[in-house]
Amino acid sequence: MKKRSFLVISGPNLNLLGTRKTSIYGEGSLEDIHRGLEQRAEELKVGVQCRQFNSEGAIIDCLQEAPGSFDGVIINAGALAHYSYALRSAIGAMLLPCVEVFISNVYAREEFRHKSVIAPVCVGVIGGFGKKSYLLALEALANLTEV
């Protein structure tokens, strides 16, 4: 059987992890998250490719190219989660299972962060567990496509 492979996309400002608002987003860098994901992917016997974009259009390009190369997507859209209908359409169009993740508990923060416009087109949402949110999402996808 072909090894399943997942795409992990982090959106705007997540390249700054570990350098800004560490009380909310924690100390580790995005590279630390990517290393953690690669390690867990190996344990789960799946492939993982991690990308980060500040640009909304670049994320959409990447999502459009995902089918054929990947079996599922994990996305932390950052602030775009709350207003990017273009991202929502791209996720809906790619027909791959997508899991939305957040590092912080968005519901404990400003009201504009309480609504995600991409959540309805995702399989599910995992948020609030720090960088663990990404690892849990990988487990969720691996379990999802196993059955």
């Binding site: 949402v125 948020g127 960088k131 487990e139 969720a140 379990n143």
Partner: protein
């Protein structure tokens, strides 16, 4: 000492496997509980289960978790969306709580898009069927999941 987790199911979850299986799946609550128990054994933690249809009963049970449980895994069912009493109980209990849902509540009716308990929980997991509970348990207890811990 092994961590102890209280797994709490709210209203109508006793009917799992019998109602709206298109949304909630065919697995019964007992089936889900035995899966959670198996995962807990693997993770070397103890679990207890509680289900009630009554808001007051859930409030009382959550209050009693204080100082007794190291974590709460809670699917509050429909109370999620309006029970401020449940929210206050979670705050008062001072036990780290994870909110879990079987379905993706954001794909459903607008009244299910708001969780009044989310702001007092550590985090939320929804949409993965019964596996949401397994992920919730791991989120609560497995430090190994966090490679950034010292």
């Amino acid at each position: 000492m092994a961590k102890h987790i209280a797994v709490i199911h709210g209203p109508n979850l006793n009917l799992l496997g019998k109602r709206e299986v298109g949304i909630y799946g065919g697995k019964s609550m007992e089936g889900i509980n035995s899966d959670i128990e198996a995962e807990a054994r693997k993770l070397n933690v103890t679990v207890e289960f509680y289900q009630s249809n009554g808001e007051g009963e859930l409030v009382t049970f959550i209050q009693q978790c204080r100082g007794r449980a190291d974590g709460i895994l809670l699917n509050a069912g429909a109370y999620t969306h309006y029970s401020v009493a449940l929210r206050d109980a979670i705050s008062a209990a001072q036990v780290p709580t994870v909110e879990a849902h079987i379905s993706n509540i954001y794909k459903r009716e607008a009244f299910r898009h708001t969780s009044v308990i989310a702001p007092v929980c550590i985090g939320q997991i929804c949409g993965f069927g019964p596996y949401s509970y397994i992920l919730g348990l791991r989120a609560l207890i497995e430090d190994r999941l966090d490679p950034w811990l010292p």
